[in-house]
Amino acid sequence: MQALTTKAKTVGRKPMTFWEKLYIPVIARGMAITFGHIFKKKVTISYPEQTRPFSPVFRGVQVLNRDEQGRERCTACGLCAVACPAEAITMEAAERLPGEEDLYKEEKYAARYEINMLRCIFCGLCEEACPKDAVYLSETLVPANFNRQSFVYGKEEMLIPHPKKDPEGFAKARGEKRS
C-alpha cells in the first residue's frame, strides 16, 4: 500500500543499547522536560472570571430590541416565525391602545413572544427576516436548567433593558459590535 503521508515512521524493534538499558539518563531527560513545563505559561482560562472572546459571527440567545426612546420595535408581523426552520417562535399580536405610544413603536405589538430555546438552532434567520430590526441574536449563552418549561423564553427574558431607565443594561445587552 502506498503511504498517504510522509509522516509515517517505521518502528524499530532492535534491542536496547546499554545506554538505554540504564534507564536513568533517559528518565532524567524526561524529567527535565516535565520540569521545564512547570514554568511554562498556563493555557487555562479561569472561566467565570475570564472568558474567551466570542467570534464576530457568534449567534447566541435572541434579544427583542427597543428604539432610542425605549419603545418595543416588534409589530408581531410573524415573519420571524415563518422564517424559523425549527419552528421555535410563537407570538400573539395585540393592538396598541391610546396612551401606550411610549411603550410600543407601531400600532400593533406582540403581547406574547416566545422562543423555545430547546428547539432553536441559533441559525439567525429570524434576525434576517425581521423588517423592523426588532430581534437579533446576542452574545449570551442559554444557561442550563433542570426543567423544559424554563427554556421557553418569553418577553421578560428576551426584552432588552430600557435605554432611558437602565442605560447601562441597555448598552451591555447591545454589546459593542452591534451598533
Partner: protein
Amino acid sequence: MHALLLSVDWPLIIEKAVLISIIIGVSLLIAMYETYAERKVAAYIQDRRGPNRAGPFGILQPLADGLKLFSKEEIVPNHSNKFLFILGPGLAMLTAMMTSAVVPWGGHIHIFGRDISLQIADVNIGILYIFGVVSMGVYGLMIGGWASNNKFSLLAAIRGASQIISYELAMGLSLIALLMMTGSLSLHTIVEQQQNGVYYVWYQPLGFLIFLVCAFAECNRTPFDLSEAESELNFGYHQEYSSMKLGFYLFAEYVNMFISSAVMATVFWGGYDVPFVNDAAFGLNHGVNLLAFLQVVSLFVKIALFIFVFMWVRWTVPRFRYDQLMKLGWKTLIPLALLNMLITGFVILLKQNHWHF
C-alpha cells in the same frame, strides 16, 4: 495495684503520648496536603492550573475531598468477607502510620525542665523495625483485595504484594551496604554520624538510587503502580471500596510516601541536620529549642523535596509492564545492590587495614 501505677514513669508516658499524637496529626495533615500537591504538580507539569476554587489557591481542596469521601455511601459487597473487608483499610493505614515511631524528627527540646527527644522510640534496631512494618504493609493490600471477592481486586492485590516483596529484597540489600558503614541500626545514631555535614549519599550514591527506586515500588507509585493499573484491572485492589474505606487506602499511599521520604532523608541525607550549619555550636549559642525548631524545619524541607520527586516522577514516567517490573527488580536491582555491598565491604576492609596497592 497502687505500686504498679507508681512504678510507671508517668511524665515519660505523657511526653511520648503527646509526641505520638503530634506526629500522627502532622503525618495526616501532610498526607492531606500531599493530595493537593499531587494535583497541583500534575497540573503544572501538564500546563494547567490545578485545583484553585476551594479557598485561596485551592488550599481547602483536601477538606472538600475528605468531606466528599465521608458523605459517600458505604458499600460492602454481598459476597465479601465483611470483617476482613473492613480490616483491610485499617491495616493499610495502621502500617503506614507505625513507621513514624523510629524516625528522629529533630534533636531534643528543653521544656518544662525536661529534655524531650523528638523521637518516639530510639530502638537499636530502627531500620529493621521499618522493614518489619513495611513488610506488614502487604497485608492491608492483600486482605482488602481478597475480601472484596472480586477477581480484579485479587489479581491486583497479588500483583501488588509480589511487587512489594520483590523490591523489599533489593531495598534491604541496598541498606546493608550503608549499615556496614554506620555500624548501627539506630536511626538516631545514623543521623548523629552525619552531623558533620557529610551525608551518606556521597558515600553510597548507588545504594541511594536503588533505595529510591525501591521506595517507589514499595509505595505503589508510578512507574510501579501495577496494582492500580486502570487499563487492566479497572481500579486495582480497592475497586470494591467506597466512602472513607477507599479514602483510607488512598490516604495510606500518601502517608507511605511521606514516611518513605522521611526515611530516605534520615538515612541518606542527614536527617534533621541543618545543612551548612554546625548544629552543636549553634545549639550552644542560641539555645536548644531554636536549634530543634530549625532541625525539624530542615528535615521537613528535605521530606518535601523527596515528595516532590515522587510526584515529578509519577507525572513523567509511564507505567512499567509487569515482566519488566520483575526483571528490573530481580535481575537488575538485586545484583546491583549485591555489587554495591561487595564494593563497600572491600573499601571498608582497605581502610581498616591500611592496605595500599
